[in-house]
Amino acid sequence: MDHNEAVRLQAAEKYVLGKLPKEQHAEYEEHYFDCSACAEEIKATVAFMEGARQVVREKDLEPVGERAPAGFFNWLRPAFAVPVLAALLLFIGYQNEVTIPRLKHSSSQIGQIMSSSFQLRGGVRGGNESGDALNTVRVRLGESFALNFDFTPTGTFSEYVWQLQNKAGRAVKSGHISGDKKYQAVSLNMAGGVESAGKYNLVFFGSADGAGQTANESETQRLTFTVEFLQ
């Protein structure tokens, strides 16, 4: 298969949807590995598909009573538009004053967000030593990486807080995960990587009040891995 044929066939969409005939399937795989234009095409198709799936799911999780038949533009209804716009103005102001200057300082990290990703296994509360021993993250000092894992917390909360704890138990990174991610494959970006090699725990807590307040007894999942720095 050459590039023109791949374009003519709309092979990227057919491939992703499983509609390419078997003989063309292998030919197209061979082609997109060899053609940077088609490589970008297939990456964009998959990114759009997964992005669309996530966007549609988020919309679907809205409470039924609050959903208008109009679908994706619900938030433009007057009852929502005024407070949403007010919040948006505040958000823009905050971004201009705080977020953007901070991002500029860490711009070197931004380009690395998707550089490497690692699958973490195990992950029951208290850890799984046999599974955890397999989890090794090999990156360079300060290199961003993503951690992929199945989010299987014990207990149900509307929101979870995660902490990346070093071997001393100190949280070196933290963030939030929505409760609707429970039992799903999740990816967390560790922008800027970590500063030292060794054992780390990715610990999840149920957020009791939905405002990120946690207590140790609300730990719901723990994934252990070892960071090794590449030379």
Binding site: E29, A39, E41, K43, T45, S107
Partner: protein, 196 residues
């Protein structure tokens, strides 16, 4: 859009273990390998194992023997991955013939679940979807959310499977244009910072 071409110099740097070239190599092929392996409905940890194995074999082979056509590095990675896959299937048949490594998707659709989507990508997807006609948005919602056969959903909406493919093609093209603008803006920021 800036397309990438592999050169003899690139492969030489890879052979010598140049860190930035290795990083580019992994970044470039990471998603391609995932896409290829996910089309075979393998467990996510198997996908990761096979991906890592492919990288290792490619780098070892490059360092030992090099390749005759550096500009066809992509084809070399693909054929190495095919070999790794074949060995994986063979090892499955030796150990447990009914192992789920044989459960390929009947139509080879790519399982996109869990692919790394940045917040910015998602915002652009949201924008593109927001600009679609209501019928198309509802169709996407039904196809992604309802646990129904795709043919059944298309029948319900009075369209055929080709309609969904064309819809996806158009929406993806819009998304790609927006995403390229973002990417160029980011690289512009990077280069202006670099020059400063």
């Amino acid at each position: 859009m800036e397309l990438f071409a592999f050169t003899r110099e690139y492969v030489e740097r890879l052979r010598e273990g140049d860190p930035s070239t290795e990083l580019h190599f992994v970044t470039y092929f990471d998603q391609l390998l995932r896409i290829k392996l996910r089309a075979r409905m393998l467990a996510s940890e198997t996908v990761e194992d096979l991906r890592q194995e492919t990288y290792i074999r490619v780098l070892v082979k490059l360092r030992e023997d090099g390749i005759r056509q550096p500009e066809r590095l992509g084809a070399f990675v693909n054929s190495t991955c095919n070999n790794v896959l074949m060995e994986f299937y063979r090892s499955c048949s030796r150990t447990s013939p009914w192992d789920d490594c044989y459960l390929e998707m009947p139509d080879h659709a790519v399982d996109t679940e869990g692919f790394l989507i940045t917040r910015q990508m998602k915002e652009r997807v949201r924008q593109v979807i927001g600009e679609l006609p209501k019928k198309d948005r509802d169709l996407l919602r039904a196809l992604f959310l309802e646990d129904k056969d795709k043919d059944e959903v298309c029948k319900q909406f009075g369209v055929d499977r080709d309609y969904f493919r064309v819809l996806l093609h158009r929406a993806k093209d819009k998304f790609r244009v927006l995403y390229e603008i973002d990417r160029e803006a980011r690289s512009g920021e990077g280069s202006s910072k670099g020059a400063a």
